[in-house]
């Protein structure tokens, strides 16, 4: 279980950062002690705000996505935005870990970033309608997944 995220062919953090820089040249990132930290301004639609999004990633863990500014929780008047994990600044849940939609061989730039853009668009729509139209599963319906999710989040590098 704890090894599923480090596949044969896993991309190391340097490769991940390299691709992020190539695809999103105005983003900024660094690697410190094997930990990737990358920030970028993203605007998911012509109508949308421009959000400062941060992605933190260490090989063997899941990428953690946080929206720093404008802060979703402030925009929603204190309501917890849908499809976020518990934790500081409501990290986004943009894929379903149990379905193995993401693994360490996949470039963050071509998965996590586009998915985060979608999240932002669905979030803005949710602010107005109160209904999440982005699709997805619910923690409430999948308790066992929540636990495995926590395990994965907490696991250390092999």
């Amino acid at each position: 279980m704890s090894k599923i995220w480090v596949k044969v062919g896993a991309l190391n953090v340097a490769r991940q950062l390299c691709e992020l820089r190539q695809l999103y040249p105005h983003g900024t990132g660094r690697i410190a002690r094997n930990r990737l930290q990358w920030q970028c301004a993203l605007q998911p639609s012509a109508f949308s705000r421009t959000y400062r999004v941060e992605i933190k990633y260490r090989l063997g863990n899941l990428p953690v996505i946080v929206v720093w500014h404008p802060c979703p929780r402030e925009l929603s008047g204190g309501r917890k935005p849908p499809h976020t994990y518990a934790g500081e600044a409501d990290p986004l849940c943009v894929f379903y870990p149990a379905a193995q939609e993401w693994n360490s061989s996949m470039p963050i730039a071509r998965t996590i970033v586009p998915w985060s853009c979608e999240w932002l668009l669905h979030f803005e729509a949710w602010l107005f309608t109160g209904i999440w139209e982005g699709g997805g599963t619910s923690h409430a319906l999948l308790n066992e997944t929540t636990e495995s999710q926590a395990q994965i989040i907490n696991q250390r590098n092999p």
Binding site: L23, Y24, P25, H26, C40, A41, L42, Q43, P44, S45, A46, F47, S48, R49, V53, L75, P82, H83, T84, Y85, C93, V94, F95, Y96, P97, A99, E101, W102, A109, R110, T111, V113, P114, W115, S116, C117, E118, W119, L120, L121, H122, E124, A125, W126, L127, F128, T129, I131, W132, E133, G134, G135, G136, T137, S138, H139, A140, T145, Q149
Partner: protein
């Protein structure tokens, strides 16, 4: 075709506004089921008036729809759920020349019926049959117009207030709208360089870029809904639907005949702007004139000349709807802010549907691998002419 639009991001925003306006209309118009229910009901009414044994049988009554139900531009009123269904009951063989008698024949037929008595009410030019919670069916009796005039659908309608016949042409008016609505707008393709521009051709707008119904019908619905919201508290000052429909149809017809557009949204703005050109002012009397295109002696703006405030209200509203539509595509403060604008323009239910449709369309396209993102995170449909850096792979948002 390898083409690049010069301002692709702006073009995308315009396409999405059109998509949202389409959702607004879908939220407020009768469903296909309601249309077919209404059709069933009016056919039953037609049979009831014409059946053997009916005192009207010998007058050859024919019932057919008119107005927004006929051109499929009907919308729900802002307060309530009942749609207006306007029907014509034309007596093809009517020896009677007295308008009161003709009107009474229809009234008596309904009033003497167990089934319709409690549903029927007499109005100035029609008998209204109420289907609680569903529709009002306004049955307007009439007889064929004079020779020649009748050839193009002209009829005489009993008018209670005038105590006389009033000329009308409901079928001709519907044809006027339907003919214009059938004209397909032409797309102006913007090219990145001269070589491409040289080989440029005019072609119909892509399906993706346009409404799910003829653009003219959608424009009429958008305008009528905006009018209903704008005049929510002073309904009597609102321009009547036939004025909006006439002006929008003239303007659309001119727009698609003479111009090409880089987006359906630009067409919508141009049509709304151009409506003003079809309000005429008679040079000798300085009176407002909006002739009925299917019966030019009739002036739809007659009431404006009796009460010029109505004209002022029309111009104020027309200006507001133009501004509101323009502002929609200029929003950069959030999809939720677009929703707020739509809410004040078209009401909360319609605005909700519009915003949900934008979100749902991105979800569905992702599931089918049909979107990508640009280097600034802009989500773009495949083949839109905007350079993307990555496709969006299908995925499942997780978490509560």
């Amino acid at each position: 075709m390898n083409r690049l639009l010069l301002k692709p991001e702006g073009h995308l925003a315009k396409m999405q506004i059109v998509q949202m306006l389409d959702a607004v209309c879908q939220a407020i118009e009768p469903t296909e089921t309601q249309y077919s229910d209404a059709t069933g009901r009016y056919q039953t009414i037609g049979d009831f008036l014409a059946e053997k044994g009916s005192p009207l049988h010998c007058y050859g009554p024919v019932v057919y729809p008119q107005g927004s139900m006929r051109i499929k531009a009907a919308i729900r009123p802002v307060n309530g759920k009942e749609f207006d269904v306007d029907l014509v009951c034309e007596f093809r063989k009517m020896p009677q020349q007295d308008p009161k008698v003709v009107k009474r024949l229809v009234w008596d037929r309904f009033h003497n019926s167990e089934r319709y008595r409690t549903m029927a009410a007499e109005k100035n030019r029609c008998v209204q049959i109420k289907y609680e919670g569903q529709f009002h069916m306004d049955v307007m009796p009439c007889i064929p117009g004079d020779d020649g005039w009748a050839m193009v659908g002209g009829v005489w309608v009993p008018d209670k207030k005038l105590d006389d016949w009033k000329a009308s042409n409901p079928a001709g008016f519907a044809r006027f709208v339907e003919t214009a609505a059938a004209k397909i707008p032409r797309q102006q393709v913007l090219f990145a360089n001269r070589a491409e521009a040289k080989s440029a051709d005019v072609e119909p707008l892509e399906v993706e870029d346009t409404f799910t119904k003829p653009p003219l019908i959608r424009i009429i619905q958008v305008l009528k809904r905006h009018r209903d919201e704008y005049f929510r508290n002073n309904h009597d000052d609102a321009p009547i639907s036939v004025i909006i429909t006439t002006l929008a149809t003239h303007s659309y017809d001119r727009a698609v005949t003479h111009n090409t557009y880089s987006s359906v949204y630009d067409l919508v703005l141009d049509v709304v702007e151009g409506m003003l050109d079809f309000v005429r002012i008679d040079s000798s009397t300085t009176e407002y004139c909006i002739p009925n295109p299917s019966h030019p002696e009739e002036n739809f703006a007659e009431r404006w000349n009796e009460n010029p405030m109505l004209a002022d209200w029309f111009f104020a509203w027309r200006s507001k709807v133009g501004t509101d539509l323009r502002l929609l595509a200029q929003q950069e403060e959030g999809v939720d802010k677009v929703g707020k604008l739509m809410e004040s323009a078209f009401g909360s239910t319609a605005a909700n549907q519009a915003v949900r449709s934008l979100s749902a369309s991105v979800r569905d396209k992702t599931a089918n691998r049909l979107v990508g993102v640009t280097s600034t995170g802009l989500i773009v449909p495949e083949g839109f002419g905007i350079r993307t850096v990555s496709k969006n792979p299908p995925h499942t948002n997780h978490g509560s």
